[in-house]
């Protein structure tokens, strides 16, 4: 219980810090949103008028207080560029990035865990070496380049997958799956390598443990030892690693959504940073940060539930 309270306190502290970082960073961005919205042809008078309409003539601190009080009333403010409530815009975007993230984590698990086991089992054999170098290649390829190659091979040459775009799940389940398959694979590929490396090491560690030798002495089959004992223990830390990859997955989506023209958060984020759409960008960054912190918080708790040996040593 004390552990949970402690974790809760750190959770709150981190959130506060995050909001302060977001605020300060975006205060420093050069550029005038009104001018950016109106573009190169705008007259000075038009810009000033728009500044007033958007409330940009207010003091920065005043705007910040407005924003934070708004947050507590579940009001994220209004986008400068789209002149729509931020929450309306995000409602459209979040499902895309969310689906991308879920699918890429699923791919990570489906591909990463069996491969990791295989590499550990075949330790010392050539197949293990080849497989680990191949997974390492996955991590080493710049993601946007890999994305292009996948589009070229699977989209254009083989025309197995669409080259761009997003289909809502409610409209067409398989269509959505197809549209998201390649981009999720690109994001998953580096996480897969991380999982494999980790899994291989823990399995090998566990294999040398006392209890495995005991089990072997008891005459249990290798298979039973592997799945009944080693794997159960080896998979626990994998949960933590998956939690840690959440941030990478969201980060990866920033670039990959651009390559595959997916209308998700990452795509919008790049765009609203360059258009200096402060209310939108602040809310999005805050949303991503909250998501990452919350998931890690949950993972911490889960870890605690699964493996009670862990004490509150951080």
């Amino acid at each position: 219980m004390r552990y949970i309270l402690y974790k809760l306190a750190t959770f709150v502290a981190t959130m506060t810090l995050v909001s302060i970082i977001i605020f300060f960073v975006f205060q420093l961005l050069p550029g005038n949103p009104a001018h950016i919205i109106l573009g190169i042809e705008a007259e000075q008078a038009q810009i000033q008028q728009l500044e007033q309409e958007l409330g940009l003539d207010k003091q920065a601190t005043e705007r910040y207080v407005d924003w934070v009080t708004g947050l507590f009333q579940a009001d994220l403010g209004e986008s400068l560029k789209y002149q729509l409530p931020v929450s309306d815009i995000l409602v459209d975007r979040i499902p895309v990035t969310f689906s991308l993230g879920i699918l890429s984590i699923l791919l990570t698990i489906i591909i990463g865990i069996p491969l990791g086991i295989l590499i550990a089992r075949t330790k010392g054999k050539w197949i293990s070496v080849v497989l680990s170098i191949m997974t390492q290649l996955g991590i080493a390829i710049p993601s946007f380049w890999f994305g292009f190659i996948l589009i070229l091979v699977f989209g254009v040459i083989l025309s197995l997958f669409p080259t761009y775009g997003y289909v809502p799940w409610s409209e067409d389940f398989f269509g959505a799956l197809r549209a998201l398959f390649l981009p999720s694979l690109v994001i998953a590929i580096s996480n897969i390598a991380v999982i494999i490396r980790y899994l291989r090491n823990t399995i090998l560690d566990q294999a040398n443990m006392e209890y495995v030798r005991t089990a072997r002495c008891k005459g249990l089959t290798e298979r039973k030892i592997m799945y009944g004992h080693i794997l159960r223990n080896a998979l626990i830390p994998v949960i933590t690693i998956l939690g840690l990859t959440i941030a990478d997955t969201l980060g990866g989506s920033i670039i990959i959504e651009n390559v595959f023209a997916l209308p998700g958060l990452g795509n919008l984020l790049i765009e609203s940073i360059s258009s200096r759409d402060f209310p939108l960008v602040q809310s999005m960054v805050l949303y991503i940060a909250v998501l990452v912190i919350t998931i890690n918080f949950i993972v911490d708790l889960l870890y605690k539930v699964i493996d009670p040996r862990i004490r509150a040593k951080g």
């Binding site: 005038n32 008028q49 975007r93 489906i110 292009f148 209308p263 258009s275």
Partner: protein, 516 residues
Amino acid sequence: MKKKLFIAFLLVFVIAFVLVGCSNSQNEEGKDANAAKPETKEATGSSVVRIAMSTEIDNLDPYKSAATDTGSMMDNVFDGLLDTNPKGELVGAIAKSYDISEDGLTYTFTLNEGVQFHDGSELTSEDVVASYETLAGMNGGEPIVAEFAVIDSIEAPSDYEVIFHLKEKNSAFLAANIVAIVPSDYEEQSSKPIGAGPFKFEAYKVGQELRLVKNENYYNHEKIPQIDEVQFKIMPDQESSVLAMQAGEIDVLPGVTQQGLTQLGDSINTVSGPQNMVQLLALNNDVEPYSDLKVRQAINLAIDKDTIIDTVSEGNGTKLGSNFSPAMEFYYEPGLEDYYATNIEKAKSLLAEAGYNDGFQMELTVPSDYQFHVDTAQVIAEQLSQVGIDVEIKMIEFSTWLEDVYQNEQYDTTIIGFTGKLDPYKILRRYVNDYERNFVNYDNEAYDELIDQALRATDEKDIAAHYKEAQRLLTEDAVSVFISDPDRTIAMSNHLEGLNMYPIQKFNLEDLHYTE
């Protein structure tokens, strides 16, 4: 053990196959609906054209939107009193004719009868008056269209006649009348825009697509669209959109590069031509050493524009000599593009005369968002190094560029492209000394005088003569290095044709049709 692993892998492959399988059957259905060759068109009864756009829509309301791309998409939903033809000449649209009084102060527009908005209501002079009152800022606030600040009063003697009284003569007023007319009492333009154009707004999915459907009741019966539906797809990455077109998932790709064309091969039709843009290396005339005419001339002599066009635009561009593109033929002063024919020796001696025997360091600020300008900067850096000018390229985001360079004029040199305008005044006003957007800080009374005379003149020929003279001054004073008007190429799948090039970014989708 191995068996299980094998099964796991098999499962992954099966899933992938199922995906591909479903997709293929769907793909075929999809292709039937979308590929829309004439025969399939008859089979399904509707034709859809998908167009890739690289930027997001900023606002559906034509009075709130400022982005060029948004304007060119929504231009199909809205019509103005006038419109432009591919040559840049003004033609009637909602107005069937107009008349300008002798003194140039009264403009009378006669409207077409029976023009309907998309909601079925009739467009009358009342809507025009209401639209213009908003645009001219007569209901309070700044004018949305700067040229309309000159309007003194508007009257509507009948349902089909509108008269504008101007405060003073202004030859720039007429071209501004291509702006959208909207229903007078309609409040939802930002979510469900309604206009009188050839296409009706159907749906907009933020960040994904804008869907327009054909307006069967378009007042110009000859121009009722032949395409049933248009989908603008938002695709931020240029190379991805070329790949999408190659895969047959995009039918029209505006602004494709030469590389893209080679990649697409002969599966496409293209139209291409100058886009009335001016790409220039702007020199800040207020900053040393660019305040020195000799230095500016030396830079002009050292830069080989042909090489820039060959390298950066793959040869598809028009060399310029002044801040004006031949796309606007009537106002264009020919012959200036070779005024500073590349001459390294002469450039060096001019630099020596100006006291820069050893050259100098030049800071070249480039908006990083535009690869085209970044590439141009690299070529210019290489060329200027031959006369001893050491160019340091400084990249900044376009948002920062707007503030630091354009607004606050905190720069030495920069590269930018000014997009086309229908009105020469809007193009050449940039160099009038007291104009706040004169960011190169050109200061020449003779020039200001010429522009003012052009604005006050009523005779088309006089107007053109003044503008031509002004262009010559810009060249002689080597105000900046005016590089080129890069061609714009629109690629269409080879079963489509009919799009034209305009001196402004415009898609005449009403003319798009299937080849026989």
